[in-house]
Amino acid sequence: MKIKALTAVAAILLSVPAFVAADEDAELIVNGDTELVTRTAAPAHLEGAMDEVLSGWRFRADETQSLQADDFDNPGMIFVDQGMDDWNKVEGSEGKSCASCHGDVEDGMAGVRAVYPKWNETAGEVRTIAQMVNECREDRMGAEKLGYTSAKMARMEALISVQSRGMPVDVAIDGPAAEMWEKGKEMFYTRTGQLELSCANCHEDNYGNNIRSDHLSQGQINGFPVYRLKNSKLTTPHGRFKGCVRDTRAETYKAGGEDFIALELYVASRGNGLSVEGVSVRN
């Protein structure tokens, strides 16, 4: 009895038509010179599911969209500044900073964000940027790990993301990464929680519709880390996944755990072709 009622409630919530002003044809050009692809043909593996992939940017109101058009207006960029300070800061027993080995972040991290999560041959597993940062810190800097979804990690991810801004997301889904990718795909399409919702129920079947007063996006992560207006700070993919799963009233997974890494790989691949936005602004 109860389950039917909840499904009915969910169905009503999902059917409210969109009313928040969003310019369907707007383009995202940052600082007047960097054009970001926010809408493109869906990658091959999505054939039959979706024709087009759309960045979360396209689903936001005009005022939110315009915040991303200028690196000064973008409130997330101040965290990139702080990330830059961290990049050059010596930490740990080995007396090194990120810069000691990687040099200038513009050179050392160019193109990195666009291809992560990625199979790491030495480690024998799929790795995320956060995991690589922590590995460097522990093994090579002799410094303490950063909390996986902590503010410090978020701003480091933001700094690294900016170095791939404008580049198309291009994560590998075949070869050694295939197993994790399949796992992530299964998670995406599996209903979970008291509300029995899968990621796809909202982000594939209902993007463009409203859930209460929120405009549903495709759930792409090309813009991550994201400055959320809701709490005025940066959010990382696993931080966001945690909340989404919890909102289906399921017990949520651990940030940095295998489930979310698989999901991150799969969700990232759904956005192959969209530009890395290097600190996006969302709701």
């Binding site: 000064f72 409130p75 960029m77 101040i78 500044d81 702080q82 005025s232 700070k233």
Partner: protein, 109 residues
């Protein structure tokens, strides 16, 4: 000292004498409004930046009284008139007594 407070200012490096230029300022600050409660139900006390000033060569451009309704990471955009070369000083005053400041030099050219 409120931790992690970092100012960020966008001002032109050069201007013509007498030109009006656009200034943008941002500072990372929580702006704790005094409306929130902690896990135990106790009100988290207000702790905000309550004043922002911009002066050029000692003359005031703008002086803003700020209340708790200014968003986290306060942002301001305004116009300044540049009569001559000099220094633009930006100052933020925190409830906790701290004062944050940054200076940008503007040349005439």
């Amino acid at each position: 000292m409120a931790s992690g407070v970092k100012p960020r200012v966008k001002a032109p490096k050069k201007a013509a004498a007498g030109e009006t230029v656009t200034i943008k300022t941002l500072i990372s600050h929580k702006m704790e409004s005094g409306q929130r409660k902690d896990g135990d139900g106790n009100v988290i006390p207000r702790s905000i930046i309550h004043r922002f000033t911009c002066d050029f060569n000692g003359q005031n451009v703008i002086d803003v009284n700020m209340e708790a309704a200014i968003s986290t990471n306060p942002y301001f955009q305004f116009e300044a008139m540049i009569p001559e070369a000099g220094d633009m000083v930006f100052t933020w005053y925190d409830d906790d007594g701290d004062v944050y400041s940054t200076t940008k030099s503007v040349a005439i050219g």
